[in-house]
């Protein structure tokens, strides 16, 4: 198309709202929507479990500490994804906090293991019946991440890989956090294998797919 006609077309389109209008609200409410849906799905999934569930589960310092880590990771990863989505908004502080929370989640899961009996603990976890929460976290996280990537495409992410990765980590961590609160399996090995590892896999998938799918 000749350049003059092309520019005419853009000028005529000026009055049409751009796709990037109110993007912050779109991002924020999308993330909140994913969180709400994940909470609802977690509750429904638990309602259909055959075990007798006593909610709230026993809580102590460890329970609240780990819950804070999960939700802290989710919020900081969401802020990191947001800052990566906009040119000139790349704030290192968000990235720093996300890395701190991510490291804390992994390290605390490893430290909580009973190292004297770690082989037996881990081998017990590699059992289909121990794993529904991991599948749930991965599946719901993947579906939510897809939605977040669609939203991020309306922005201007210069590094699609990192943006996709943090978006996936953010929604995955919400699922892991809710699952942590209601999961009836108490072992620390279970937490590592079926809550932390699915999140790591989801994050890696976010990096790979983000590079391909987040194109603007």
């Amino acid at each position: 198309m000749r350049n003059h006609d092309f520019i005419d077309g853009l000028v005529n389109d000026l009055s049409t709202p751009s796709e990037s209008r109110n993007w912050f609200s779109l991002f924020f409410f999308s993330w909140l929507g994913c969180a709400s849906i994940l909470a609802m799905f977690t509750y429904l999934a638990m309602s259909f479990m055959p075990q007798d569930i006593h909610l709230p589960r026993e809580t102590g310092f460890s329970f609240w500490f780990h819950s804070a880590l999960w939700f802290g990771l989710s919020i900081s990863a969401a802020l990191t994804a947001y800052s990566h989505s906009l040119i000139g908004k790349n704030l290192p502080i968000y990235r720093w906090w996300s890395r701190v929370f991510a490291a804390a989640v992994v390290v605390s899961a490893l430290l909580d293991l009973t190292w004297s009996d770690v082989g037996a603990d881990l081998s017990r976890e590699f059992d289909f019946y121990q794993g529904p929460c991991g599948g749930f976290i991965f599946t719901t996280g993947f579906l939510s991440a897809n939605w977040m990537w669609v939203v991020i495409k309306r922005a201007t992410p210069l590094n699609s890989r990192r943006t996709g990765m943090w978006a996936a980590a953010s929604v995955g961590a919400i699922g892991s956090g809710f699952m942590h609160m209601v999961c009836t399996h108490e072992g620390h090995a279970h937490e590592l294998v079926w809550h932390v590892v699915p999140l790591i896999l989801l994050t890696l998938l976010g990096a790979i797919l983000g590079k391909k799918w987040i194109r603007w």
């Binding site: 350049n3 520019i7 853009l10 389109d13 000026l14 751009s18 993007w23 201007t156 603007w216």
Partner: protein, 180 residues
């Protein structure tokens, strides 16, 4: 540079408030800037005026679609150049994934070799060339009527052989589309 930044920013902000004249001036000036920038940034093997102008149009389109994401408190030129760099990298990646139809040129060449010289040589051959740029017309004449080799044409226009092939292919495609 400071004057340019201030001028462009004022026009852009006026455009965001609905001033169509300011937007046109902004787009015209950014298009000229981008043409120069992209021409310098592209590899000589991939560079051609058409490709540069296509890419410059894509940059303008991206700026148009994402205009509400620009933060007023920050400089405008770095934002524009960041968009341009992203589009350029995307274009290079797309080219490496799917090189533009070089084999197709051979196929179309075989079909066109009997038809096009006659059309281009006739008085009303000019009709067929309407809509093509001067460079496209010249390249088509050199290759189809005067039967210059691709290397000779590439040397004359300071282009790569691939760029010459792509230019011929696009010109023929345009002619076919117009007359089909």
């Amino acid at each position: 540079m400071k004057e340019l930044e201030q001028r462009l920013k004022k026009r852009f902000l006026d455009a965001r408030n609905g001033d169509a004249i300011a937007y046109r001036e902004f787009l015209d000036e950014v298009f000229r800037l981008m043409r120069g920038y992209l021409f310098q940034s592209m590899s000589p093997k991939l560079r051609s005026m058409e490709r540069v102008e296509d890419l410059a149009q894509e940059v303008l389109l991206s700026i148009h679609r994402k205009r509400d994401l620009y933060d007023d408190s920050k400089p405008l030129l770095p934002w524009i150049y960041a968009v341009a760099r992203h589009r350029l990298i995307d274009s290079i990646r797309a080219e490496s994934r799917q090189p533009e139809c070089v084999e197709w040129v051979e196929k179309f060449d075989a079909l066109a070799v009997t038809e096009i010289p006659q059309l281009l040589g006739e008085d009303d051959g000019r009709e067929f060339l309407k809509g093509l740029t001067d460079q496209q017309q010249q390249i088509l004449r050199l290759s189809k009527i005067e039967e210059h080799s691709l290397q000779e044409i590439a040397d004359q226009f300071h282009m790569s052989i691939s760029a010459v092939k792509v230019t011929i292919h696009r010109s023929l495609k345009q002619i076919r589309k117009k007359w089909s």
